[in-house]
């Protein structure tokens, strides 16, 4: 760019070089106003009015100064306002957030005013060109492709081509195979169904006794005689598994006390104890805990998608997207009068899945045969 030896070939260099002491090209002895007018002649570029631009410059400067102050305020706030309690965090969040917002807003506003009031108004035009290449270029590429394909021998040499394809097939499976151990149990997929069918209610305590029902949160066992007000409800977890999330994801119960005459035919009577019925709390739709209970109607409602179950009638679905009742857990009392599980659920709890089958119908058939 600075090499001026070959002036002849460069059109713009034909302009006489500036003689020391004369004004630079494009400037005027008369001042800047005329120079600006010269620039105005670029079509599609309209320079703003100088007095307006000067006023805008002041506003922009004010905006940038606000940013300067706010950014310093941010740094000071960081040092001054400590966190550690919800209140202190609230104050710190407010101070940091406000100063940051103002700082960025000032910068943004300044630039926008700069663009709109100080920079020219542009209506420049550029040509578009069709995206497609010239036909000639396409042909050259096509020829090159064909020539290359032939040169490589890929076309002619069948053995090479076929063994390459052969090699690619298992290699493509390698990453998939590698993912097999994502399942930590490493058991065959056929066993997934077995796992999903069982909950810890089928387990025994170390002493070989059935698991007691304990209150979620406190871990207190429940004496049937104490759980005696009809309409009462408890969220119940298995003894010994109070903090085992995997166990809770299937074994959490909802325990409801009924007056004997309230129970309808859907409830398995021999699985209840003195009007106390235990249902799985895990919704049969997609597995949310069906946590809401309406005492007067005996409705259990899942707050996620509003599947509604009639607790007095075997938790059968009366509304919403769930297709199956909440499974009932067989319960009884031990020698000390505490509620215990008689065994595991008869059918899988929670959301349905491909291998599940109609476990309810299966259980009924079994019951009928027995």
């Amino acid at each position: 760019m600075t090499d001026n030896e070959h002036e002849i070939e460069q059109a713009d260099e034909r302009v006489p070089k500036r003689v020391i002491g004369t004004p630079a090209p494009g400037t005027s002895m008369l001042g800047t106003a005329e120079a600006a007018e010269v620039e105005k002649e670029v079509p599609g570029v309209v320079l703003p009015d100088e007095t307006k631009a000067r006023r805008a410059e002041k506003i922009v400067a004010l905006c940038f100064t606000i940013t300067f102050i706010a950014a310093i305020a941010f740094i000071i706030s960081y040092v001054v306002f400590q966190v550690g309690s919800p209140e202190a965090t609230g104050v710190s969040n407010f101070a940091l957030g406000l100063s940051l917002t103002v700082a960025i807003l000032g910068l943004a506003a300044g630039i926008v005013i700069w663009v709109r009031q100080i920079m020219p108004k542009y209506t420049l035009v550029q040509e578009r060109h069709a995206m497609a290449s010239e036909e000639e270029d396409r042909e050259v590429v096509a020829d090159t492709f064909v020539a290359g394909a032939n040169e490589s021998g890929f076309v002619k040499r069948k053995l090479l081509r076929r063994t390459l394809l052969l090699a690619a097939a298992p290699l493509g499976l390698v990453p998939l195979v590698l993912l097999r151990d994502l399942d930590n149990s490493r058991m065959p997929g056929a066993k997934f169904n077995q796992m999903l069918r069982h909950t810890v209610w089928g387990e025994k305590t170390k002493e070989g006794k059935p698991l007691r029902l304990v209150v979620e949160g406190t871990g207190q066992p429940i004496r049937a005689a104490d759980f005696n007000s009809p309409g009462g409800i408890l969220s119940v977890v298995p003894e010994g598994y109070e903090h085992d999330l995997n166990a809770l994801a299937k074994a959490t119960l909802i325990l409801i006390k009924f007056r004997p005459e309230e129970l309808k035919s859907g409830v398995r009577q021999n699985w209840t104890h003195d009007g106390i019925v235990a249902y799985s709390k895990i919704c049969t739709h997609v597995g949310c805990p069906a946590a809401l209970y309406e005492q007067t109607t005996h409705h259990i409602l899942c707050p996620c998608h509003q599947s509604t179950f009639d607790a007095a009638d075997g938790a059968k679905v009366i509304f919403g997207p769930a297709a199956r009742p909440l499974p009932q857990l067989p319960i009884t009392v031990d020698a000390e009068g505490y509620l215990i599980a008689k065994g595991d659920f008869e059918v899988p709890v929670g959301p349905s899945y491909w291998e599940r089958g109609d476990a309810e119908a299966e259980a009924r058939q079994k019951g009928g045969q027995a």
């Binding site: 494009g26 400037t27 306002f81 966190v83 309690s85 919800p86 965090t89 710190s92 969040n93 940091l96 957030g97 940051l100 917002t101 960025i104 807003l105 910068l107 943004a108 630039i111 663009v115 920079m119 542009y122 420049l124 035009v125 550029q126 040509e127 578009r128 069709a130 995206m131 994502l182 399942d183 930590n184 997929g189 997934f192 796992m195 979620e216 969220s235 999330l245 995997n246 994801a249 299937k250 959490t252 739709h285 997609v286 597995g287 949310c288 805990p289 946590a291 996620c304 998608h305 509003q306 599947s307 997207p321 297709a323 959301p351 349905s352 899945y353 491909w354 291998e355 089958g357 109609d358």
Partner: protein
């Protein structure tokens, strides 16, 4: 200060160094003054772009403290109400970010807000591109990239939302599991592989973490870059207007004006996000407590972009099929599979295929660089509004418990209404939009042929009062006249009544019929009225001028 005459040394030195090695001047010569057309609706995509940048920055900050572990620890941070409570390290470290790191809560809230803005920005940008037909040739590839971006953004949101491991995020995770396990044949495998065994296991947070901070954002970044490069190479579309045609692009140069504007716009987005994070609390995880599968809080709501899936789950009827009898595998929980896959499938597949379907129906293989005004392609606009309504009904029903509680409507009624509206509302939206588009086209035609009401009432010699109409402003007229008929296949039958080649079979006949309905000009701009344009250029709007009323 006087203007620059030469490039200052501070710039020239490094530039020369770079150009000697990279030869960038050739590229910059052609691109520094690249023209970007101006329209407010072209800024919508930028919101998404800048939100993504903010997400990367704030997300990196969060990773400095976040521990993606489901190991149970007793909380000993500074949020007193949860002292001693057993929780996962993920939740404990999220609380640490919120209460023990200065600016941590602000950045966490900015991250969440910009995630919402990211999806919202993408969605409105996509709608703009759809309704203006900016996806047409040569931009179909960029449109598909956009659809992929939107899908990935939903996955990115879902994985991020699950990380803090509070009770609310766990509810979302549980629903994800319930949906995954419902899939035919592969459902149990997918869940066992995803969760490392039975739900919830101890792996899902760390797995979601690597998806959320590495894999998905990596793909997003690559696709966004491709999206930008294609936009740059193909040049932006422009609205119809004075001096604008399919062969040019009119607007402001990248350097300096567009660059500065874009920079300012990034800062506005950042300021908005910072302001929201300052004044508007989002996802107060400390109130929800640690996750346990035994509990859920009423009124649990996902982030807005998952609302349509939630709504679909809520209004579904309880269908479940056992394909091979009682005791065999083959359970299809349709009440989960259908809402989980069908709405998303319809929307995303429909979006991806639309440019190609439209091209098939219209036979239009030209390049389009002038954006359509939505009214000028009424069927497309109606289809778009139908889709919005479909999505909107699902989205609203995703909050039917809130609607029920706040407006005192029976919850069951909202669900039943949703089951009807999901079919009825899109059809209604189609009809209404179609009529509105035609009405707007008529009003355009009226402006062109009769001018604009001037507010000046004139009394004619025989006593009749008329309002003087003036011709529309030049730029408005050019904008309106930018309309062009929707392309149509040559469907006309020859004199013997034989349809053209390729339209004789059943598919061909359907295509021809669709083309006839979809294409063509519904309302002509100038249909040569024999009256009106008087000496004073005032046109009379007469009651017998039926061209404007029917």
């Amino acid at each position: 200060m006087s203007d620059l005459r030469t490039v200052p040394n501070a710039v020239a030195g490094p530039s020369t160094f770079l150009d000697d090695r990279l030869g960038g001047a050739n590229f910059l010569k052609r691109n520094l003054r690249k023209i970007f057309p101006d329209h407010w609706s072209f800024l919508l995509g930028e919101i998404a772009l800048y939100s993504f940048v903010i997400l990367l920055l704030t997300g990196t900050f969060l990773t400095f403290w976040f521990k993606p572990s489901m190991m149970e620890v007793a909380y000993d941070g500074s949020y007193a109400p949860l002292h001693g409570v057993m929780m996962s390290e993920a939740y404990a470290s999220s609380l640490e970010i919120s209460f023990d790191v200065r600016g941590g809560l602000l950045i966490r809230q900015m991250h969440h807000w910009s995630a919402l803005l990211f999806v919202a920005g993408m969605t409105v940008h996509m709608l703009r591109v759809f309704f203006t037909g900016a996806y047409r040739k040569p931009r179909e590839i960029n449109w598909i990239i956009g659809v992929l971006l939107l899908t990935l953004a939903l996955a990115e949101g879902l994985t991020g939302y699950s990380l803090p491991d509070d009770l609310l995020s766990g509810a979302g995770l549980r629903i994800t599991e319930g949906v995954a396990i419902s899939l035919p044949l592969v459902g149990t495998y997918i869940t066992f592989f995803l969760f490392g065994g039975e739900y919830p296991g101890e792996d899902v947070i760390s797995r979601f973490y690597s998806l959320h901070i590495l894999l998905i954002p990596g793909i997003l970044l690559a696709l966004i870059s491709a999206h930008m490069v294609l936009m740059w190479v193909q040049k932006h579309t422009q609205m119809p207007g004075k001096g604008r045609d399919n062969k040019n692009v009119v607007g402001a140069p990248f350097y300096p004006a567009f660059m500065a504007k874009a920079g300012a716009y990034f800062l506005f987005t950042l300021a908005t996000v910072a302001g929201l994070a300052t004044f508007t609390q989002i996802n107060p995880i400390w109130l929800f407590g640690p996750y346990t599968p035994a509990d859920v809080s009423a009124g649990s709501q996902p982030d807005f972009y998952m609302g349509f899936l939630e709504g679909a789950l809520r209004i579904m009827v309880p269908w479940e099929i056992n394909l091979f009898g009682t005791s065999h595998a083959g359970t299809l929980p349709l009440s989960v599979i259908i809402p989980a896959l069908v709405p998303m499938g319809i929307i995303m597949t429909g979006l991806a295929l639309y440019p190609f379907l439209e091209r098939w129906v219209t036979g239009d293989n030209r390049e389009h660089h002038i954006a359509d005004r939505p009214r000028n392609n009424p069927h497309r606009t109606s289809i778009g509004m139908s889709a919005i309504t479909f999505y909107g009904v699902l989205w609203l029903l995703g909050a039917n418990d809130e609607i029920s509680a706040n407006f005192h409507i029976s919850l069951n009624v909202t669900t039943y209404a949703g089951r009807v509206l999901i079919f009825l509302a899109p059809a209604l939206a189609y009809l209404i939009t179609y009529r509105m588009c035609l009405g707007l086209q008529r009003s355009d035609a009226a402006v062109i042929s009769h001018g604009v009401e001037s507010g000046v009432i004139k009394r004619l010699p025989h006593g009749e009062f008329i309002e003087v109409h003036t011709p529309p402003a030049e730029d408005i007229e050019a904008h309106v006249r930018g309309k062009e008929p929707v392309a149509m296949l040559p469907v006309a039958e020859d004199p013997t009544g034989i349809p053209p080649k390729g339209m004789r079979g059943p598919v061909g006949r359907l295509r021809a019929r669709m083309s006839k309905a979809y294409g063509g000009e519904k309302i002509q701009l100038d249909d040569g009225h024999g009256h009106g344009h008087g000496d004073d250029q005032a046109a009379l709007e007469r009651s017998d001028d039926r061209s404007l009323t029917h």
